[in-house]
């Protein structure tokens, strides 16, 4: 902390050390205790802080009452929050406590079945051949009497 930085602090934050940045406060106070110039700078700025402190504000006596009577809107929930709340409602009846998690547990099984049906792993490829393709296959498998040249 030097006098130049001290002056910058006073110009920005005023003469009350409580408003100075915490990280620099101790060093600024040390300089203030040791330097007459720093004390003079502080004194020159103090009147503005005293003046600003006289800025009165209304009491806002009824404010809390008004705020607490204010109707609170329903919050829009994200899809994940809605699904989670449906699956595990906080205030559900007893039945909701087990069947919904069970339904959630079944989802991977349903998903697996669906994907398995889409892949058609066990379907006979010949079943989807056209007539021309079947004839070519028949010819290819036939036992020719003459060798091909």
């Amino acid at each position: 902390m030097n006098l130049q930085r001290f002056e910058q602090l006073i110009e920005a934050y005023g003469s009350d050390p409580q408003r100075w940045p915490v990280a620099e406060r101790a060093a600024a106070l040390k300089l203030l205790a040791e330097s007459d110039k720093a004390a003079a700078l502080l004194e020159q700025s103090a009147w503005l802080d005293e003046t600003l402190d006289q800025f009165a504000v209304p009491a806002f006596d009824q404010l809390n009452e008004r705020l607490l009577k204010m109707p609170l809107p329903a919050r829009s929930k994200g899809w994940l929050e809605r699904v989670t709340q449906w699956l595990m409602p906080a205030d559900s009846a007893r039945v909701g406590e087990w069947w919904r998690p069970a339904a959630l547990a079944c989802l991977p099984l349903v998903f697996g079945l669906f994907m398995g049906m889409q892949l058609d792993l066990f379907q006979d490829p010949a079943a989807e051949m056209t007539a021309d393709e079947a004839e070519l296959l028949f010819i290819a498998l036939a036992d020719y009497p003459e060798p091909l040249e």
């Binding site: 920005a12 006289q54 800025f55 806002f60 204010m70």
Partner: protein, 226 residues
């Protein structure tokens, strides 16, 4: 860590604790998680704890009690609806609320450039006691109001957040999306402007050798005296 109770605490120097009820310590993260989950009791406690600080900020920014209350109402509606979006690593609840209020105030000012009104005088009418003292006080209040209202909106917000709301430079820089260096530059310009525009108040004060007492001020100095 915040003390949630039927009462208030924290760094906002304008706020005086109310009567205490049942108390328990919750972190900001726990509070916001509870509000996000729909806990109206925690929400109400949070409103009681922070509402006046936000109201004072909005009032100093806008100069109108009605508009300030609108900003506070919208700020706490957003607390209710957007608590789930709050990120604990970015800001505490107070700083988050100030950020919301700051953005709302800037929106208000841009919609209505004449937002700063003479309502201050009406708001303070009820507190008058001594006619001579009040005349001086009234004049000083009006001058202060005018001087702060005349600041560019970002300088005004920076000054109010640091001087009156008691937020740290890091928090204010975060609220205003600034670097700390840029914040210090804004603050220094604001204070230079105020020194020039309020210089006659200093002279008056020195000549009269009296100090007008604030009615309901941000009074670190008063606390020190106490």
């Amino acid at each position: 860590m915040h003390e949630i109770s039927i009462g208030m605490s924290g760094s906002d120097r304008d706020i005086k604790p109310e009567a205490s009820g049942s108390r328990r310590m919750l972190t900001d993260e726990q509070i916001m998680a509870a509000i996000a989950a729909g806990d109206r009791r925690i929400y109400a406690d949070t409103v009681r704890q922070h509402s006046r600080a936000i109201a004072f900020y909005a009032w100093r920014m806008l100069g109108s009690q009605a508009e300030a209350e609108d900003v506070v109402q919208e700020t706490f509606l957003r607390l209710w609806t957007q608590a789930a979006r709050w990120q604990p690593d970015r800001a505490g609840i107070s700083t988050w609320l100030h950020r919301v209020a700051h953005n709302l105030c800037i929106d208000h000012m841009r919609k209505d450039r004449s937002a700063v009104t003479d309502e201050l005088d009406e708001d303070l009418e009820d507190h008058k006691t001594d006619p001579d003292e009040d005349l001086d006080m009234d004049m000083r209040q009006r001058r202060l109001q005018q001087a702060i209202a005349a600041l560019p909106e970002r300088q005004r917000s920076a000054l109010i957040l640091v001087h009156y709301q008691g937020l740290s430079n890091q928090a204010v820089a975060g609220i205003m999306d600034l670097s700390v260096d840029a914040l210090e530059s804004l603050l220094a310009r604001a204070r230079r402007t105020l020194k020039a525009s309020l210089a006659d108040l200093r002279v008056d004060s020195e000549n009269k050798d009296t100090q007008a007492q604030p009615v309901c001020t941000n009074s670190r100095r008063q606390e020190k005296k106490a």
